[in-house]
Every structure is written in C-alpha cells, then in structure tokens.
Subunit: 471 residues, 2 copies
C-alpha cells in the first residue's frame, strides 16, 4: 500500500469510528505534512482520495471538513431480470447508433460512454516503448507472424494465464484487432446464420449487433445483478432451444457490473459441457478488479475446450492500439483461419510495442494504480447517486470494471432522461439499448471511468433532478 | 531520372543497337567512374540495374560482360481463360492453407509468396515518423475517430484520389485493418449468404476464401491475361444469373497482372450500372505501375455510387501496419457501421504515423524507386524464364504489381512442380488455388517482388529444369 493510501485509510477509520465527526475540520495539508514528516503532495493525494470517497469535503479557502453523510449509498439491486426467453431474430434499431454517436463527442460529460478516460493509461510510456521498439524491428516482422500473431506477445499473454492457473499455451492464442474482432471470429467459428445464441439480460449492445450481422437468433436469459446469468433458467433454455452457443461475461459484466462467483462458474461450464455448447467468454474487464485477486474466467474450469476466451489490452492498458486476442480452445485453428481471412494480422508495431511493455514488467504497477482510481471513482459515483437521486433509486456496486447499473423508480423513461440529459451536455446509456425487446426502460448504465471532479458531481446532480422531475 | 538510371539506359542503348556485342567486356567500375567523374557507387548501381535486366553478366574477378542474349523473353499469354460459368458454392480446400503455410517460411525462395520483400519499403523512415508521432499524440485520439477512422488520414487519401481526378470525399472513406478487411466489409454490405458473386478466372484465392466464409455462390468469368475480365461473357452472366455483386481487380490483377484499359473500365462500369450490380474493386497494386501514370480505378467512371473501391498501404508503403480503406460509394454508411462492429477502429498509432508520413510528402519519391526496382525485377524474371524454361512456356508481362502468370506446356502438373520445388527450398503458387474447380493445373504465379540475385536466378533455373523434366 502507498503512503497516501495508508494515511487516507487511517483518517477514514477515524471518521467511520466516530473519532472525527460531521463538520469537523481536518488539519491543514501543511500541518499534517509537518507533523508526520511526509510530503505535502502525499497529504494532498490522501485528502483527494477521501474526498472522492465522499468522506470529506473541501470548502474554498477554509480547508477540509468531514462530510455530512460519510458514505451514502443507493439501495442495492437484488432481483434478477425476467426477460422473455423465446428465441428471436436480432434487429438492432437506429436508436443505438444515434445514442452511441452522441457519446462520442468530446464536450459532453461521458456518463454514457463505453470507454474509460484515456488519461488513466500510460500512453506516454507506451509511446516511448513504441519509439524504441519499432526502430529496432526486423523488417521481416511485417510478414513473419501471419499465422496467429506475434509469437513473443502470445507467450506474454500465456504467462498471464499461467499466473491464474490456466494452462493456455501460446499456440492456442490468436491475436486480433481488439476483443471485438476476437468475439466476432469466435461467433463465426461456432455458428451459422439462423442458429440461436444465448445472451445475458441485459447484455452489451455490441453483442446484439454482432448477432444481428451474422443473422442469428438470440435468447435472453435472466441475469442476477451481482452474480450473473441464472443457471436454472439457462439449463431450461439449453433443454428447450438447443442453442448453438452462449455469449457471456462472467467478470464485471457490461452493463450490470456483475461478477459470477467461482463455484457458479464451475457449474456453468459443467452445464454447458453436458450440452456440448460452446461458450464465448467476453472477459475484457477482468484486470480491473477491486478485490484481493484477479477473478479467474470460466475458462479456468473448462476441460473440454468449449470455452472460447476473448480479451484485449484496450480497457486496461492501451486504448487505440487495437490489440486483443482469443484463446478459443478446441476451435483455435478455425479461429486462426478466420482471422487470416478477416484481416490477416493485427498491426505489427502495436503488437511488438505491447510485447516489449509487458516484458519490462511495468504492467502490474500500472494496473494497481488503475484499480485504485476506478474503485475510488465508483464510490464517488455511488455517493453522488445517493445524494442526488430520488429515494427508490437502486444501483449495483460492482467489484470491478467501470460501469454501474441504475434502476430508477417505476414508470421513469430512461430514453426520455437520455434526451433531456443530452440537451444539457450529459450522456447516459439508457437501458433499452441493452436488450432485444427494449426492456429496462427505467434503467441507466453509468460510466465511472472518468476523473471525479466538480463537473462530474454537477452532472450527477443534474441527472438526479431530471429523474426527480420525472418521478 | 537518377544519374545511375541515365548511365544504365545509355549502356543499354549501346547493347541493343549493336555498338556493344555479346561477350564484350564493359569498362571497369573504376575506369567508368574516373572517365565520367561520377562516383563508383553510381556506376555500381547502373551495372546492377543492367544485370538485373539481363543485359550484362558479372564474371567473378574479371568484370562485366554483355550477356549472350540481351533480352530474351518467354512467349506472351494471349488467350482468355474459359471457365465453367455456372454458379457454384465456394469450398476452398485444405490444400490452399498448406501451400500458403509453406510460403511463409523465412528460408525458402519466396516465388510463391503473396508479399513483396520487406526490404523494398522505408520501414526505418516510418519507424522514425512513428516515434515522433506517437509521443505527440493527444490521448483522446485513442477514442476520437471511432466513426470511420483518423480524419486527417482520410483527407490525405482523398487528396490522392483527387490527383487522379476522382472526387472522393474524406467522408466516404472508411479506414480498415488492411484491404482484406475493407473487401470483407464491402462484400458483407451488399450480399446475403446464398447470393451469387462474379469473380475473375483465375482469381486471387483470398477472394474465394472470403466468398466461402460468407456462404456465397461464385461465378467465374473468362478473363484476358492482359486486359482483364471479358465484358461480353460478363454481360451474359449478368443476364442469366443476376449476381448480387462483382469482385474484380482492374489494375494489375492478382494472379495475372492484367491491366484493364480505360475505355474498357468505362464500359464495365456502365454495364454494371445497367444491371444495378455493385462492384467491389480490389485495387491494392495501382501505385505499383511501370507506365507513365497511375492507372485510374473503374471507380473513376462510376456515376451511381455502385463501385466500392478498396485499397491499402500494405503493398506500396507500410507492410504490417495494417492500414487499408474502402471508398464504398452509396454503401459508405453501411460499411462504416459494419467496420465499427467488426473491430471498432484500425490501430491508432499506425493511422497517425501514415498520416504524418503522407503529409511530409516523401511518399512519391519512395514510390518512384519502388516502381523502378519492381519493373527491373520483372524483366530479370522474364529473362530467366526465357533462358531456363522449356520452349512453349508462356508468361504475362505485367505493367505493374509484382506477380506474373506462367503457363507451362500442356499436361504439366503445377501442383507436382510445387511439391518438388518445395523439397528444394523454393515456393511457387500453383494455378489450381486460383480457381473454384481446380483449373489452371499447368499454370504458376511467380512473385518478382524480391531482390534479384544469384539465388533467385538459380531458383528459376531449378524450376525450369523441374518443368523440363516433367515435359
């Protein structure tokens, strides 16, 4: 633990135990710095962290004070979704595109964005690694790794699987243009147009779009906001519909933020194995855990090569480099060939750069900082929701990733909130874009992957008043 | 024209006019350098060029001599192919993959390769541009250009269209992971599984694979070795089969090297417009022309937005960077959305680097050198075929690109030649992989995109003797 984190924790304990009370003034940065012989910047960082957690507030020119309600939180979401589990052809409306387009503007508050802030990533460091890497690159590298991508990078990825106890060999790994391409290729490897595929409810809209492009049917299965897809419902669907594949996110699901417990993952994999059903596992957020250790993917329990694990560096290290991968189990060769046909290789300079970065072992240090920032921002956003949204609002409290799912009071129209918020320069991701039939009309996905500041707090206050007005 | 090129041309003229005769010894490099007050390296370059053109030969320790037959050439190919023009489901056999895998090894003579030598490209210069570009890159660039790719790069590409008189707006251009992805996306934009698509005969095997992946039927149309697809045959197929699209290469077709004349391109576009049939134009070799000017694509004559033009920087500037694009006419928005769903964006550092390189205007200088090298190597390979292959061998003499198509005597099995050559460390691309039904059993595609040296000459001699033995 860093010095400033230790200091923040110590002060937090004093507040939570009642030693420091609402309205108490904290010692100034200069006093604390002198008293403890630590640098002023360490004290600043600790105070910033406490502020982001909602425990203290800064008042202009008068210092820091213990906040009124040190840890307000919205009510948790407890109930699983209840989608219609009939198979249905996927048609994603125009609305998704117009909503996505709105979130791409630079000048909006990006609560509806699918991306975390680029400021969270070591882009300058990566640029320096790239500068030195490409200038040493063997010209033949441009056509060397046509098979499944840069071999040393695949070894680095295999090494990270190994740390989690997954014996994924570098030969199984296919480097792709980001996880999106990996997911598409895995889907193409195990389905034909017209086949049915199981998805979570709610599910990431890009999965819906991928199913639509391939002409697939989809079956939405009830999903618990903390623990992921309901296995009894899934078992019934497997019996009744004989779907050709499942597309699931076991770790920090988008949009719920749910994390499937290990025992449930094992059960899931065994259930699918009994039905010989391949599973496409979208696992792009696993590195962004807030707990003690990285959650293993469902693939960890796979003994039949049925789990096709997909991930990338886009959400945890290098957005824009477009380097992802699939570890497609028994379908590896098929996916490798589909990759060759789809776009040959990933970008060679990007592959080589990420490989060099991983070899130098700065990755874990970066990840520790990133997780701390994201978990702090999660708490800040939950605090703001509790302060600004009307009673009855529920929200998930994810243990990783950068999305949370908010359920507004019944009858509130999330699409309407989206339009009104957009007019005020704030984006949100309304619930209906995460389902086949426009369910979740009173839900929002909010992104806490951007720095918590006064603008963000104000945006949450604005959203809260829009919701209150609609109640 | 460079000094060494002028010198080479002057000596070539003396040889061809008979002033210098077979066996005559050329002045030594030192003599020529002193007599003309030019550097020895300039003289060396001129002699190398003459040697590559087959006009002179070096004899160890005794200097350069006028070659026996200054410009031998194989007989040209004159007749169009005569494929079965029935529509057929596409099934690409395992053989293509095993042949492709063989060409990827580093230690073989890569006559069967689909790629030119990496040594032909300014990879060091690009690496320096990349080093300075990525270190200045705005972090927000990583998520800025989700729509259709880096905007300034799209403007640079639009500028190059403009030079050829094509008013392609940057808004029409969709940046992709190489031309392969662009071609796939265009195909997906205008076809559904089961549709029929027109292709050339022979055609690039990657087109066959793309059609197979999408579950399409294909119709092979007779194609002339110099002038491309036969319009009368195409017209009949359009009437009879109502195909949903055409996938054609008008400039330096792979594998023939054919170049469709401008008037024929205009006629082609008008014919397709009458049938409302979209054309996917694979134009990755256009920059590698040996004539006076870059040939325009068929898209230049398109007034209905039906031509979807696809190209890339992989074959003319930056192999491995994986930056290509589509200018899909009226289908631009559809292709842009398919691109977003397929893999979001291309690699952001690669896009920014190519943009910076193009802005600095070193591109045309590089291209001039590249064209000179390739045309010289084409002549050297044609000379070697004439010297080493049995009489009756025919070959195309492309005016661009880096492939030529060789027709061996009747009854010679190109697949057999492939296996025997591979055992001797030489790859070739046998004719049958370029067709649906395994036609072109006595043809080879040879790649002249690698430096012409003694190893290459020896490989051609070996191939020639394998063919002679099989005759």
């Amino acid at each position: 633990m860093k010095r400033y984190e230790a200091l923040a924790d110590e002060i937090a304990a004093s507040i939570l135990s009642g030693v420091l009370r609402t309205g108490d003034r904290l010692p100034s940065v200069r006093q604390t710095s002198a008293a403890r012989t630590i640098s002023a910047s360490t004290v600043f960082k600790a105070y910033y962290l406490l502020e982001a957690r909602g425990l203290i507030r800064a008042r202009e020119r008068s210092g820091y004070f213990v906040a009124a309600d040190p840890a307000p939180r919205p009510q948790p979401l407890e109930a699983s979704s209840q989608p219609d589990t009939q198979s249905i052809a996927v048609t994603v409306g125009e609305r998704v595109f117009s909503i996505l387009r709105a979130t791409m503007k630079r000048d909006v508050v990006p609560l509806g964005s699918a991306f975390p802030s680029p400021s969270l990533f070591p882009l300058q460091r990566l640029a320096r690694v790239m500068a030195s890497t490409v200038q040493k690159l063997d010209p033949r590298a441009s056509v060397d790794y046509l098979d499944q991508g840069n071999v040393p990078l695949r070894r680095q990825i295999a090494l990270r699987y190994l740390i989690d106890g997954l014996p994924v060999h570098a030969d199984e790994i296919v480097i792709t243009n980001g996880a999106m391409e990996a997911l598409n290729l895995c889907l193409a490897a195990v389905t034909q147009p017209g086949d049915a595929v199981v998805i979570e409810s709610p599910t990431f809209y890009a999965a819906l779009q991928a199913l639509e492009r391939r002409g697939l049917q989809a079956i939405e299965v009830p999903t618990h906001p903390r623990e992921g897809i309901e296995l009894s419902a899934l078992a019934a669907v497997l019996e009744r519909h004989r779907p050709r594949a499942c597309w699931l996110m076991t770790n920090f699901q988008n949009p719920l933020g749910s994390l499937m417990p290990d025992a449930k993952k094992r059960e899931l994999v065994e259930l699918l194995a009994r039905h010989e059903t391949p599973m496409i596992e979208d696992d792009v957020y696993a590195e962004l855990y807030f707990g003690e250790r990285r959650p293993v993917p469902a693939k960890a329990y796979d003994r039949h090569g049925l789990v096709m694990h997909c991930s990338s560096f886009s959400k945890c290290l290098a957005p824009g480099y477009r380097i992802g991968w699939a570890a497609p189990g028994r379908f590896a060769q098929k996916v490798a060939r589909l990759k060759l046909g789809a776009s040959l290789t990933a970008s060679v300079p990007a592959e080589a750069t990420l490989c060099a970065y991983l070899e130098k072992a700065g990755y874990d240090k970066h990840l520790r900082q990133l997780r701390l920032v994201l978990s702090t921002q999660r708490d800040a956003m939950l605090g703001a929701i509790a302060r600004h949204f009307p009673p009855g609002t529920r929200a998930t409290r994810p243990d990783g990733g950068y999305f949370l799912w908010v359920e507004l009071g019944p009858g509130i129209d999330a699409i309407d909130i989206h339009h009104k918020a957009l007019a005020l320069g704030i984006t949100v991701a309304p619930g209906p874009i995460f389902s086949l039939r426009g369910d979740f009309g009173h839900c929002l996905r909010l992104n806490y992957g951007h720095p918590w500041d006064a603008r963000m707090e104000a945006a949450l206050a604005t959203l809260g008043s829009l919701v209150a007005a609609a109640t």
